[in-house]
Symmetry: C2
Subunit: 200 residues, 2 copies
C-alpha cells in the first residue's frame, strides 16, 4: 500500500444509498507525491484491465507506459497545463486502441468504448492498492504517434493517464489547488431514462 498524508473529503458527494463506496471515493487528483510503484503493483493494475469485456473479445486496449528512464519523454507529450502537476506522477501512460478486428480486419466500432472499460478497471485496481489515477484528454497526439512510431492507420491514441500517490492539496500551486476537490455529478434523473428518451 501507498500511504498518503491526505484524506480527501467525499462528504459532498451524494451516492444513492447502497452504492459501493469504491465508486464515489474514486476521483482524479492532481496533488501527487513522487513515489516509486513496485513493478508487481503496476502489473496488477494493468492485469485488471485485461479482464474488461470487449466486442468479440478483441481486447483492443494497449497501454504504453513510462519507465524511470523514459518518464521525461512521456511528460513532454502532455499539454503544458498537465505537465505542471503530472511531473509528480509515479507513472505516465497512454491508452491506445487497435482500430480493426483481428479476426476479419474490419473497423472495430467498439474499440474506444472498450478501452474506456479497461481504463476504468485499471483505475479501480489502482485504488485497491492505495494509488490514484488521473485521465487526460490534454495530450499531444501527433507527437505521440511520431515519438513512439505508432502506426495511426492501425492504432488510435485515445487518452493519457497518470498513476500516483496522493499528496496534500496544499502542495499544489494556483490554479490547480482550487480544482483539487472531488467533483460533483449530475442528478441520476439527468442520465437515466426508463422506457423512453426525453423529448425537448
Amino acid at each position: 500500500m501507498y500511504p498518503s498524508p491526505y484524506q480527501p473529503d467525499f462528504s459532498k458527494r451524494d451516492p444513492y444509498p447502497g452504492v459501493d463506496p469504491m465508486f464515489p471515493t474514486r476521483w482524479s487528483p492532481r496533488a501527487l507525491v513522487k513515489t516509486a510503484i513496485a513493478e508487481e503493483d503496476l502489473l496488477r493494475i494493468f492485469d485488471a484491465a485485461r479482464w474488461a469485456p470487449s466486442s468479440y473479445n478483441e481486447q483492443p486496449w494497449r497501454f504504453l507506459v513510462s519507465t524511470t528512464e523514459t518518464f521525461d519523454t512521456f511528460l513532454g507529450l502532455l499539454v503544458e497545463a498537465n505537465q505542471k502537476w503530472a511531473q509528480n506522477a509515479s507513472v505516465l501512460g497512454f491508452v491506445v486502441a487497435k482500430r480493426h478486428f483481428t479476426h476479419n480486419d474490419k473497423p472495430n466500432d467498439c474499440a474506444v468504448f472498450d478501452c474506456g472499460s479497461a481504463w476504468m478497471s485499471m483505475t479501480f485496481q489502482a485504488r485497491l492498492l492505495g494509488l490514484y489515477t488521473h485521465g487526460m484528454a490534454g495530450i499531444k497526439k501527433d507527437a505521440i504517434y511520431t515519438t513512439f512510431g505508432i502506426d495511426r492507420e492501425r492504432f488510435e491514441v485515445v487518452a493519457g493517464f497518470a498513476i500516483g500517490v496522493l499528496d496534500a492539496r496544499e502542495t499544489l500551486p494556483k490554479p490547480y489547488i482550487d480544482w483539487e476537490v472531488p467533483s460533483p455529478r449530475k442528478p441520476l434523473a439527468e442520465i437515466l431514462f426508463q422506457g423512453a428518451w426525453p423529448q425537448p
Copy 2:
C-alpha cells in the same frame, strides 16, 4: 442479492497474483433466468456509473433502459442472434453518448471512451449485487434512433446491454451453450508496453 443456481468456473483464467477477484470473476453470460430486479438495485447500478471520470466532468453517458411495459420494444432493437438469449434478461438498455461538450458545444472526442468507463462501473456495481451484465454491439442503431426519437446530431447510440440473473449453462440452446464459458485473455505482455511501442 439474486441467488443463482450456477457457479461459473473461472479456474481457467490466469490473473496476475494479487489482482482483485472482482476483475477475473466478471464475465458476460447469456444464460439468464427472468427475474425482477428491485428498483433500488437498478438505481444503485446506474448511480455507480454516475461517478465515473470524464473529460471536463462532462458526464456524457446516458442510459436508456427498459421497463416491464417496454421490454419487448427494447428486445426488438437487438439483432436477432442477441434476442434469442436476451429475452431472458431482467433489463435491457442502451448506452448513449452526448456528442458535444455542454460548456462550449465543441465535439467531445472523449465521449465514447468516457461512456466505456461508466459502463464498466455499472457492471461492477451489478456484480456486487449478484447480477450480471452483457454488453452488445449487435443492436439496430438506426431503428433505436427512430423508435425513441433520439437526435443523432447530438447523441450517439454506442452499445446495448442486458442485466440479469445467471442461470445454468445447460438451459441455453446451441450455439450459445458452446460459448457459455468465461473467455480467456491475451497475455499481459501483448497489451502492456513499458517505455517503447513495439515495432513490427
